[in-house]
Amino acid sequence: MRRSTAIVFLVIMVLLFSVVWAWAGDPSGVETLQKDPGKALDFVWILLCGFLVMFMQAGFACLESGFCRAKNVTNLMTKNLLDFVAGSLAFWALGFGIIMGTDWMGLIGTSNFFLAGDAYDVNTYLSFFWQMVFAATAATIVSGAVAERLKFQAYLIYSAVVCILIYPVYAHWVWGGGWLSKLPFGLGHLDFAGSGVVHAVGGFIGLAGAIVLGPRFGKFDKDGKAKAIPGHSISLAALGTFILWFGWYGFNPGSTFSAHHLRIAVIAVNTTLSASAGSLTALLLIYGKTGRFDLGMALNGALAGLVAVTAPCAWIASWAAVVIGIVAGFIVVFGVYLLDALHIDDPVGAVPVHGFNGLWGLFAVGIFADGTYGNYATEAPFVKGLLYGGGAGQLISQAFGAVVLVIWAFGCGIILFKILDAILGVRVHPSEEIQGLDILEHGTPAYPEFYSTRF
């Protein structure tokens, strides 16, 4: 059976190379630069920001494994590596074409698969790189919500599907000139850097996964009370959050996709302030409850603020970023308790952080946009929200998009995980879960030399 897997993979790979060798694009970039010498700076800016976004993979890997138990660290690290690995290949094969290919009825893109033919062009490759790191981010978010109990095979397939289908289709609707971007209210559904497209999509697929999988052994006691399962390394989790925050400076400012919008400075500031406000709010809320300064929640709070400001960051002023962050702090704290109350087990808080706050970010655009920046452009039409005399139009588009997002992401998620469950079973055997996934699925304990207690 396993050999077959290996073979299947190689076959697929071979197929991948039945690609046209001719091209009509600009692979050397000479023409592009002649047409617009400013492109050189744009390429530098977008690539460097893209590198930062890719580095977020390290952040997720550290955060998630730090928040889980030592016996599952190898598994989490493998998942975080492989979703980027499998995701980028799947996205190269199909996903990218579905987002950015020539639009078909506002539903999907239909060209540029395998970056073959005309797609062999510096501009297309640049766009691919950017979209690819975003897709991988959406994919990796899920690994946190389904941590410590999902079978690895299931995870591999799932990541590919997210990068081939679930993410690209929705992203096409919003960013690829699809129907959501053309909604008749405000300027259509807007999501600057992906609070919705990336984070909420990832979060709600994760929610679906967490529901289908059910809670980890020991997460809820007989009488259904939620119990805490502390992470094995706070320093790893904190480092991961710092890396994510750092990477977010590529994620948000880079989304102008142009270095000639000096607005990037405003975006960087808003990103920072919202994260800070979210973190401080979460810290103080828990402090109000337990009288202790809870780092785990402060880390989630910072990420919550980052997620929430991702959609509006280009269209708002600093004070709004702070408000958005404070609200994000409330959302993440109550979101964590809500999931516990619903007996849904999300080991690292991916759903409240990315799912709930992703939606909040979409609404925030319709509320706080102040008309200083346009549709990825410095010229009119500018985006205006409720508070700045833009009326309810934009807010309606945002709400509409949010609803569609939840239906699509959560719906596809449920279906995907149900199918995987039917075919190969998504959940590991209880004894394997108790012993930890590292040994049985990977054979490699993460810290073989150190005793681990906490029975």
């Binding site: 108790i434 040994i439 054979g443």
Partner: protein, 112 residues
């Protein structure tokens, strides 16, 4: 006075401790050990190479109790720790000559 030393599966720890607590024998010392017996070791791998690990993680409970409590406690522990699979572990009974509670200086059975 006797000391009961029970080597059990780590995952059975919680149940046994709770059972002891509920039966009014809170006093216990727990150690994390590695054991080797009939049970086959694990096969681990690192960078593509497999290797056998013959020492398996186990938990050991040390419980000092009155002579008359021994049988009941052993029964209780064995019952809670048993899976019937190889690797369930063992219980050993050691003699103890005296005990002292540092806080109060009490000695003998009063100290247990």
């Amino acid at each position: 006075m006797k000391e009961i030393r029970a080597v059990i599966r780590i995952e059975k720890m919680r149940d046994v401790l709770d059972a002891l607590e509920n039966n009014g024998h809170p006093g216990v010392s727990v150690e994390r050990i590695e054991g080797h017996g009939r049970q086959a070791g694990l096969v681990e791998q690192f960078r593509g190479r497999e290797f056998k690990v013959d020492l398996l993680p186990k938990a050991r409970l040390d419980i000092v109790c009155k002579d008359e409590d021994v049988d009941a406690l052993v029964k209780l522990i064995a019952e809670k720790a048993k899976t019937g699979e190889i690797g369930d572990g063992k219980i050993f009974i050691h003699p103890v000559e005296n005990a002292m509670r540092i806080r109060t200086g009490e000695t003998g059975e009063a100290a247990i």
